[in-house]
């Protein structure tokens, strides 16, 4: 199954090898957090695919470091007085990598595909009456009812991001994985040089027209200052550290905190907390089966979990994390400590044991499913096991790999038929900033995230938040959501941690953002 075209490309590369070395220009070597396998940022929420998306695609709007929505591909926009019609006009000169101009139809098709998978997009779609193209660069959105989060939705920074693709590609079934990475972003992917599991190659998109403003998170001008970017996936972190030290790579996206001393010794390497929002760990329950279908059992754990332990277990050094007693990412507008006392106050094992008794716990077995190839998941599992044992709960860990875990957590049966009671995971900061994107707290039962909590009250409060008209109302509504969360306990947040980035001395211009963005980066 060798396509003649591929043979040709290989032959051309061989012939051009020496010439290639010269023509490559400035090459940035980047060690990514994971291995890029899926090219479709709509079909999956995987962060590595999202990062790839930021390389090759562009968005209509973006968020800046003050959490404000800023236009990106859009030149100007207007909202009608009644809030039911939005009119968007694209910037001039936007082109896809195949040379085609970006048109309204492309944007509409892309948003449509995105809204079929993304929860916030679905909410927008519910409120939408129609999208229509006025001409090639202007299009409108008509809503059935006011949806104050419209622009926030279109500017969503993390999975799934409403990237704009050519119409023909955006028409792909959203449950099918697309393969053509043509976008209008600042980089182009060189698919012929892609070795999944090893290397991804991007080159500068010389046709890209950056905005004039300075870059701030994913907004502002995306000026690419290198010619070629190579994502070199190194699966072994000790090897990655050695590679960075030896200059075989320029940037390492996420440094396991324990390896920081290896890099700090080296004068040519800087280790920095480049991510202002970090990530939030969490304990998730199965609400369908005992004992955690009982609210008191879940509340009991609130009094026993010591976030400090989890943060150290995950991040190693207190410098790389801190407790965050909120269901919303600390450091963002909606973070609050309302009703957080059970988690925040002095640890009270006695109260925990008492609540266990009150819940009527009969000694049923509790199964924690663990993924040994995910250190963050694994360390949390060990800590929770310890706590449960101290509480007198008959708990055990059943370990597998991540693939096994996410398969098993989809099982709704009781544990003797392959079910589960607890699993752990983590989400990046942007994915927990408000009740819209924060999917773990949703109480929609069968349609909810794994665990399937049913909490009508929570859904009411979330709906109320959606209808908040300004920041003050939004904050109050969010507080109400959090109060409910501490009662119902959909998850237990285990702390906020930051995985630092490391880069060599000849690298500058790394944007401080919750996502690793590679425009603006210079290499001397």
């Amino acid at each position: 199954m060798n396509h003649p075209l591929q043979k040709l490309v290989v032959a051309a590369l061989i012939a051009a090898a020496p010439a290639l070395a010269v023509a490559q220009g400035k090459v940035l070597k980047f060690i990514p957090q994971a291995d890029l396998r899926i090219l479709d940022p709509i079909a999956t929420t995987a962060y590595i695919t999202r990062n790839h998306g930021y390389m090759v695609y562009d968005t209509l709007f973006s968020i800046d470091d003050k959490f404000q929505v800023k236009p990106q591909m859009v030149d100007k926009w207007e909202m009608s007085k009644d809030g039911l019609t939005y009119t968007f006009t694209l910037r001039p000169g936007l082109k896809f990598h195949d040379g085609q101009a970006v048109k309204s139809a492309d944007c509409i098709a892309s948003i449509d595909r995105w809204s079929k998978r993304d929860a916030l997009g679905q909410k927008l779609a519910e409120a939408t009456e129609s999208w229509a193209a006025v001409n090639d660069t202007t299009f409108t959105l008509k809503l059935k009812k006011p949806f104050p989060l419209t622009l926030d939705a279109l500017a969503k920074p993390s999975s799934n991001v409403p990237f704009i693709m050519p119409e023909r590609i955006a028409k792909t079934d959203p449950f099918k994985n697309l393969e053509d990475p043509i976008g209008s972003g600042p980089f182009k992917m060189v698919k012929a040089e892609w070795v999944p599991g090893n290397k991804v190659v991007y080159i500068k998109n010389t046709d890209y027209v950056p905005r004039k403003e300075a870059p701030s998170w994913a907004s502002g001008g995306k000026v690419v200052k290198v010619d070629r970017v190579e994502w070199i996936y190194i699966p072994d972190s000790a090897t990655a550290a050695a590679a960075l030290n030896a200059g075989e790579a320029d940037i390492w996206e996420q440094v396991p905190p324990d390896l920081i001393p290896l890099l700090s010794k080296n004068k040519s390497v800087t280790v920095k907390n480049n991510d202002p929002l970090g990530s939030m760990g969490m304990i998730r329950f199965n609400f369908l089966h005992p004992p955690f279908n009982n609210e008191k059992m879940r509340q009991a754990l609130l009094y026993a979990v010591n976030q400090q332990d989890y943060v150290i277990g995950i991040a190693g050094d207190p410098k790389n994390g801190k407790p965050c007693f909120s269901y919303f990412t600390c450091g963002t507008p909606l973070a609050t400590e309302a009703a957080a006392d059970p988690l925040k106050g002095k640890r009270d094992m006695e109260k925990a044991k008492q609540l266990v008794k009150e819940s009527g716990y009969k000694g049923e077995k509790v199964v924690i499913i663990d993924a040994t190839d995910q250190p963050i998941v694994h360390s949390q599992s060990l800590l929770t096991l310890e706590i449960l044992k101290k509480m007198g709960v008959n708990a055990e860990i059943q370990a597998g790999d991540w693939g096994t875990l996410i398969t098993r957590r989809a099982v709704k049966e009781p544990i003797d038929k392959g079910g589960w009671n607890i699993f752990h995971t983590w989400l990046v900061g942007p994915d927990m900033v408000n009740p819209a994107v924060n999917f773990p707290i949703r109480g929609t039962g069968e349609k909810a995230w794994f665990g399937w909590p049913t909490d009508a009250k929570m859904e009411e409060l979330r709906e109320a938040w959606f209808n908040a008209k300004d920041l003050a109302e939004s904050k109050k509504a969010a507080e109400a959501v959090q109060r409910r969360a501490f009662e119902f306990v959909p998850i237990i947040p285990t702390g906020q941690f930051i995985l630092p980035t490391a880069y060599r001395a000849n690298i500058s211009g790394l944007i401080i953002a919750p996502i690793n963005l590679l425009w603006n980066v210079e290499k001397k």
Binding site: S379, L385, Q398, A399
Partner: protein, 283 residues
Amino acid sequence: MAASPTWRGFRDAFRRHPTAIAGGVILLVMIAIALLAPWLGTVDPQAVAPIKRLKQPSEEFWFGSDMMGRDVYSRVLYGARVSLSIGIAVAILSTLLGLAIGLVTGYIRWLDAIVMRVMDGLMSIPPVLLAIALMALTRASMENVIAAITLAEVPRVTRLVRSLVLTLREEPYVVAAIAAGTRLPRILVRHILPNIVAPLLVQATYVCASAMITEAILSFIGAGTPPNIPSWGNIMAEARSLFQIAGYLIFFPGVCLSLTVLAINLLGDGMRDALDPRLARRM
């Protein structure tokens, strides 16, 4: 008459091989440590204490503490249990299975062709795949690891038994026994089996050593025993990226594993030399 070495000959041969004896002694010491672990100054090997993570060897933590604050000394001692159990279990199981299959195929011609091709096929399935599949089917456990490694080792044992049976079948006393009308099971037990036991035992020691290393590799890939229960292999695998920062995490289990594997190999070599130097060719 079947020619089997006398026990005295065995002992004398051993004395001529000090390395084999050294190997045996080391192995016995390791087994003793494994059995006596709870009384050798250990604490709960699974007790986590993140505050005390990654401490160098000291009074409190004789071998240091790992990334979750667990005591490495205790983990290494209890780890001996898991590593040795896996090695011995795989050795026993693969030997018994290989013996059974090898005896049958060595004797029954038409079965031989089929079984040997199946063995070929089995050997070409990566043990990693088997291990992960087993792990995913149930969960990460010692039993699954033993099963996966055993399946990978059985073909080799089978080959050995088969080649031995093929040769022994032509021996005069066996031919005579067949001519005399002796039934197959009796021939197998009285004539063939005693001559296979010795090389089989030697092979078993090599399998044991190999299994212990394979367990470490499986843990490295993430398809090994659940890491909260320590084994020498998974202590090293879990700590691998901390090699330069907390080298003791790799050093202590590494030394124990190497010593034990070395000991087993020396023991096997000694046994082989003692029994019959010509055996060496077939191993």
